[in-house]
Structure formats: C-alpha cells, structure tokens
C-alpha cells in the first residue's frame, strides 16, 4: 500500500514541477523568440506552443519512465519512501534542467535569416 502511495506522491509532485516550469519558460521564452524573429509575434507564438507541446510530452514521458527505475527498492517505511522520492524527483529536476539548457543553446545559436528579411521588407 505504501508503494502505491509513494508512486502517487511522486507523480503529483513531479507533474506539478513540470507544469510550473513549463508555464514559466513559455511566458519568458515568448519574449526571447519574438526578439529573435525580428518582432514576428505570430510566428514566435506558434514556435513557442510547438516547443511547449514537445516539452510537456517528453517530460511527462520521462517522469513515467523514471517511475519504473529501481522497482526492486522496497518502500515499506518512511525512510525508504523518502529515499525513493528524493532519488526520483532529483532525476526529474535534473532532466528539466538539462532540457532547458539544450533548448536555450539551440535557440541561442539559431539565426532565422529569411524571417528577419521578410519583416524588414514589410
């Protein structure tokens, strides 16, 4: 019974973290993308929402896959429950950080020349 409870706590906490981080990145990333696309807000919004869908899918998938790691670890007392939660939540937040850095690196090195020319012509 404690196993199931631990799994549910893990899923709730990691889902909440993913949701909050996703919303924050979506809000602040839009400004960055709009600036990168030479003020083309519509295109920036579209790319931003595509990135958000991808982010949610990959992270939710990762959270569910990580749940299956170390299933031999018996959760039968409070100590082992805390160990399980810290290990798994740590892996999830690490993945969130890595994913944020990778997306940021790709966007920072991205130079959309055609879009800037189109906007400048307008």
């Amino acid at each position: 019974m404690l196993n199931t409870l631990t799994y549910l706590i893990y899923l709730t906490i990691s889902g909440y973290i993913t949701l909050v981080v996703g919303r924050t990145l979506n809000q602040h990333g839009l400004v960055f993308l709009t600036n990168h696309l030479g003020g083309n807000q519509r295109l920036a919004t579209a790319i931003n929402s595509l990135l958000l869908i991808g982010y949610y899918l990959i992270n939710t998938g990762y959270i569910l896959l990580v749940l299956n790691l170390n299933t031999s670890m018996a959760v039968n007392e409070l100590g082992s429950m805390l160990r399980f939660l810290s290990l798994h939540l740590g892996l999830v937040t690490l993945m969130l950080g890595i994913m944020h850095m990778v997306i940021f690196y790709v966007l920072a090195n991205w130079k959309p020349t055609n879009v800037i020319t189109t906007v400048a012509e307008q």
């Binding site: 929402s49 595509l50 899918l57």
Partner: protein, 151 residues
C-alpha cells in the same frame, strides 16, 4: 482543452468506461467470476494504458493541427500555392502517425509481466504510456527543429 473534452475525448473515454464496466458485469455471473477475477489487474492495466495512450495521441495531433492557419502556412508549408491540398496532406500524415503509434501502444500490452497488484498496475501502465509520450515528444521536437532550420 475545451476542444479536447468535447470531440477528441470520445474514443479514450468510451474505452475507459467500457474497460471499467465489463468486469463488473461479468463478475456478477458466477461462471465468469473466476476467469475475470484472476486477470482483473491486467484487464484494468490494459484499458488504462490504451485509454491514456489514445488520449495523449489525440490531444497532441489536435493541438498540432489547430495552430492558426496563417501560421501553419508560414511555419509548416513551404509554398502557399495550394494550401488546401497541403493541409489535407498534413492531416493524412497525422492520421498515419496516429495509427502507427496506436499500434505500438497495442503491441506493448503483450510485452512484460502481468501486473499482480495495484502498484504493479501503476508500473505497467506508466512504463507503456511513458514510452508512447516520449516517442510523441521526440516527434514534435524533431518536426519543430526541422521547420525552424528552414526559416
């Protein structure tokens, strides 16, 4: 989300309801009680997995296809000569991808050990739904990256 709840949720919700109701009906009939009671967790895990996977697939593709048409034209299509045929082609590709991922979800049900308890049920479903979500996410990210490179 509103759009999803009205249209796209029909199939996953009906699957989940069917999966929840059928064992209850059959458990009442004495001849079927033993047969259903033995594999009850597997039954629920299978329907939960299928419902979850189909909901994720439907939601993702409906979100992808519901981007503003003008943005679609700018982001997805290289030419604006025949937008309608391009959109039909995109819908066809989306349906094909949906079918392939659904078949993967179905196939995954026969792999692995059958769940014997509630914790096993959670692990069984989470592994399969997680893998499907990961595949969907990788696909969305790959499409976005390819389209961004063309801008």
């Amino acid at each position: 989300m509103k759009n999803f709840l009205t249209r796209e949720a029909n199939l996953p919700l009906s699957l989940l309801t069917l999966g929840a109701i059928i064992p209850v009906v059959f458990l009442v009939v004495p001849d079927f009680t033993l047969m259903f009671a033995a594999d009850l967790y597997y039954w629920y895990a299978a329907f939960l997995t299928l419902g979850g996977c189909i909901a994720a697939i439907k939601l993702t593709f409906s979100r992808l296809l519901s981007i503003n048409p003008q943005i679609h034209q700018e982001l997805i299509f290289e030419t604006d000569e025949n937008q309608r045929s391009a959109q039909a082609l995109l819908s066809a590709h989306a349906k094909t991808a949906e079918l392939i991922i659904m078949s993967l979800a179905l196939f995954s049900l026969i792999l692995g050990r059958e769940p014997q308890g509630l914790a096993d049920l959670l692990l069984f479903s989470s592994l399969r739904i997680g893998a499907i979500l990961f595949i969907l996410g990788a696909m969305v990210m790959a499409i976005t990256h390819l389209k961004m490179r063309k801008l």
